[in-house]
């Protein structure tokens, strides 16, 4: 187990450098530069442009810029936004709870519904429900997020008026950001109805963001469950006179969860990339929207380090899933 962790940590170093190189190069491949965007594209005085570029250190050759960037990183300096002059780390940490809140709600939605649908589909294999769930999940998996989001907004928010169109909470409420999680902050505040309002704001974005993970989890759970239900120990459990629900959930699902958990971990990456689109559609003030705006403004430090932070997050989550895997599966736990 220890050597396994060490190996995984060792792999992080090249991954880390790969990410810095990639984000550094990609954002500079987009036409335009930060100064142009800041000054407005119609009339840029060439002299002022050159001055500004020099001030930002963007006139140096690319390799020098990259070395500057990596050198700062080595000192733990993530730089500051070209637009707001705020430190990237500070902006990231203040916006991240919003994204995390959305991602957790989406995962809860996808996890509960996906597991349930997968288990029932496996139990009723070949039934109308099974074919229905598998068909819908294939459609869900193939759904473009931005299109799906707009359709839901049009139907539920505009047509039916059930849910708000955008944002995290109505501007009527004055909420102090204590934890950054709107659901908790609204509960802590004494504003009446704020919690319900925040919850309503969360529903549509969570569904949109959770759709793809939901489809993947449902399909994975189904196939994993079908495999497990054929195992001898399921017959043993039934021969003990246990109730069908105990056989399925205690003896079946526990074992079927092992591969599902891996998929769950992999979905965190999908979730964060989905968050970028979802947050843009719903004007959700999280890191996804922050990154999109930064790309638009060619805010190099924000784009580079924002993506780097997200990448680190995905790596950490997958790492945690590997460890969790050992907890669920005793056969792995005992391999040393």
């Amino acid at each position: 187990m220890f050597s396994f962790i060490a190996r995984r940590l060792g792999l992080l170093i090249p991954t880390f450098f790969g990410i810095t190189l990639l984000t550094f190069a990609l954002i500079r491949l987009i036409p335009g530069d930060p100064v142009e965007v800041m000054m407005g594209e119609r009339r840029v005085d060439p002299e002022m442009h050159a001055q500004a570029m020099e001030r930002l250190g963007l006139n140096k050759p690319l390799y020098a810029q990259y070395l500057d960037y990596v050198g700062k990183l080595a000192h733990g300096d993530l730089g500051e936004s070209l637009r707001t002059r705020e430190s990237v780390w500070h902006e990231f940490t203040s916006l991240f709870p919003a994204t995390l809140e959305l991602a957790i709600c989406a995962l809860i939605f996808a996890g509960i519904l996906g597991l349930l649908a997968g288990v029932i589909a496996a139990l009723k294999r070949g039934s109308l429900f099974d074919h229905g769930v598998m068909g819908i999940s294939l459609a869900g998996y193939s759904m473009p997020i931005f299109w799906w989001g707009l359709i839901l907004i049009m139907f539920f928010s505009v047509h039916l008026g059930w849910t708000p169109v955008s944002g995290r909470v109505d501007l009527l409420y004055d909420i102090q950001p204590k934890t950054g999680f709107m659901l908790i902050d609204t509960l802590l505040s004494d504003e009446e109805g704020a919690f319900k309002d925040a919850l309503m704001h969360l529903i549509l974005p969570s569904i949109v963001l959770g759709t793809i993970p939901l489809a993947v989890i449902a399909r994975m759970t189904r196939s994993s469950m079908l495999e497990v239900l054929r195992e001898d120990y399921i017959r043993t459990a039934r021969a003990k006179g246990l109730s069908p629900s105990r056989v399925v959930f205690v003896h079946g699902l526990r074992n079927a969860l092992i591969p599902v958990l891996t998929v769950f971990g992999l979905q965190v990456g999908t979730l964060l990339s989905g968050a970028v689109l979802t947050e843009t559609i719903f004007s959700w003030p999280g890191i996804g929207k922050w990154l999109i705006e930064a790309i638009g403004a060619r805010d190099y430090p924000v784009v580079q380090n924002g993506i780097l932070l997200i990448a680190c997050l995905v790596i950490m989550v997958n790492f945690a899933v590997d460890i969790l895997y050992g907890l669920v599966n005793p056969r792995i736990r005992h391999q040393r």
Binding site: Y233, G241, L242, H334
Partner: protein, 322 residues
Amino acid sequence: MSLLQIKNLNVRFGDPKAVPVVDGLDLSVEKGEVLAIVGESGSGKSVTMMALMGLIDAPGIITADSLNFDGKDMLKLSASQRRKIVGKDLAMVFQDPMTALNPSYTVGFQIEEVLRQHLGLSGKAARQRALELLKKVEIPAPESRLNAYPHQLSGGMSQRVAIAMAIAGEPKLLIADEPTTALDVTIQAQIMELLLHLQKEQNMALILITHDLAVVAETAQRVCVMYAGQAVEVGHVPQLFDIPAHPYTEALLAAIPEHSEGAERLATLPGIVPGRYDRPQGCLLSPRCPYVQESCRQQRPGLDPKAHSLARCFYPLNQEVA
């Protein structure tokens, strides 16, 4: 009244007209009796027991005139009523112990589960009882085994755990479906000894499904020989071995390697068990029987009393009464 009374049991898969896997089986087991069921693979031994346990799902179709266990007709009970009996009064040990235990739970958890379900024990009492059961099945260092996972146990050890689980509810009838087939020869004898020891100690009935006729000769009081889903001969132990009435029983006995000592080849019965499409109209053994007569091909014999046993044959062997 017998502990177990099966009358005209039929098990089919698919539609009600499909060829039955178990075909009109009659069988009874008395309290505290050891009954062995022998027969080739595919003769319906396991399916019969699975039907009794309620472990056959759709598309399996079970019909019987009666499937009476301990005074209750198992087919007429609701699923939840049946679950009160299965795992408690009626328990089963399966063939491959390495896959029969759930890999995600400890041995203790899996034994305690039965105690919670059927005896209402929990917490310390359940743990204490689980430990006693492990001692009963003669597992070395039982205290430490309670927290072991199945993959940490050997095959023989796993089978002992499976037996502990099966006897946890102090069953009146234990079904052992080839309990030693998947184990090393040295372990086989130990497990067999343990089963018989427990059978005597708890005075439970034991149905032993096996291929090992030597074991049957030593342990069982009665034997049921099955062929192609039917019982072809049912009789008491020394007689059935010494003077078999059915040609199939005779052939099975002749196939024991020890009986062919000195011969170039082992004795075999040519041909295979009839399948779905070549099921004969007459006696199911008629295509393979060395004593076959014309009437055997036309009509199917019933399971009728012969000189020393019940046999399904028009021309039984060894009928001289001594």
